[in-house]
Symmetry: C2
Subunit: 201 residues, 2 copies
């Protein structure tokens, strides 16, 4: 772990108009949820933005999961974007159910309270989070486990996302997003490529 | 462009049970479509698997696009996964409408005919493709431009995806997937990280 990932994160708010950029490149995320006296965190490789403004996202949450029950009970969920230093944790929280164990306690996770919905959010080791109100879409939820949400607050670690832009550099490697290939293998989002416009543009 | 990306691709079929792995890590894709005598290709950063078996995916296709019209007319679409060597093309096909121009002709793209649905597919410079039958989901399509599809055929370039696994190596950098950050900036899926199981697992 680099010094950057080791010191406490100082997250800054991300304007809602820029929130979709946090998920635009397809990172694997941690979905957090709470209802009554229960809370949970699960890993989700399958999420995407669906609208820029208002910022809306979709995430696949299997109907067998404890998270799904909490999301349906509370009408809300959050998405946290883990950095590469959390790759073991990201894999681990996908391997057990929150029905049986409080995964925050088990893994020593310190949750920050979300500013709008009060959801448990992860900052240390994460690059960003988004608090979302569920947008009920009964058929898609039932047929494809696809849950929609509207982002009502977002924030990011300015060492890797600032002024509406991701900045992947050698000195923030531990905060760089991870993308699950399957079976606990991830790729890290690495070198940036700038597309050139077509010659006749 | 490396020699690897320069020679003609020799795609191999990917078993349907492994098809979701082609999109699991959130690459930006090219959506191809055809209806009547028209065909089109557009870029889409927003896609994800939604089910392993049968393999199903979701992709956001704005209702204003020519692609959306072709998908609704034909009931099918394909998703091609461009490698890093196609980053300029990926950006370019997102900057103009297929209503005004045949983007295949404009960019000199050679389309391969899909084996099940006959869709125009891109192989040269791409890592993989998936042919999909649209699964009508009227409310999600209307409210969130989210279109669902069932994968009926898939294939990949074995230099980067073989035996159900992505393999990102220095010698296949031009085939490595790209992930759009916004404004023509992409990150390349780079170094692989293997998560370690928790100590008490």
């Amino acid at each position: 772990m680099t010094a950057a990932a080791g010191r406490p994160a100082g997250f800054l708010p991300v304007p809602l108009a820029q929130a979709s950029r946090l998920l635009n490149h397809g990172p694997t995320v941690l979905v957090t949820s709470a209802a009554g006296d229960q809370r949970n965190v699960m890993a989700a490789a399958w999420s995407m933005p669906v609208e820029f403004s208002p910022p809306r996202i979709a995430v696949v949450i299997d109907k067998q999961t404890h998270t799904r029950r909490l999301v349906e009970a509370s009408g809300q969920f959050a998405v946290c974007v883990p950095g590469a230093a959390l790759v073991d944790l990201t894999w681990a929280v996908g391997q057990c159910s929150g029905r049986e164990v409080d995964k925050f306690a088990r893994h020593g996770l310190v949750a920050v309270r979300g500013p709008v919905l009060g959801l448990p959010l992860l900052e240390a080791g994460c690059a960003a989070w988004l608090e979302c109100r569920r947008l009920p879409e009964p058929h898609a939820e039932d047929a494809y486990d696809t849950c929609f949400g509207e982002v009502v607050a977002a924030a990011a670690d300015p060492r890797i996302f600032a002024d509406g832009r991701w900045d992947f550099r050698p000195d923030n490697a531990d905060l760089q997003t991870v993308h699950h290939l399957g079976g606990g293998r991830f790729v890290r989002a690495g070198g940036t490529l700038q597309a050139r416009p077509p010659a006749d543009a």
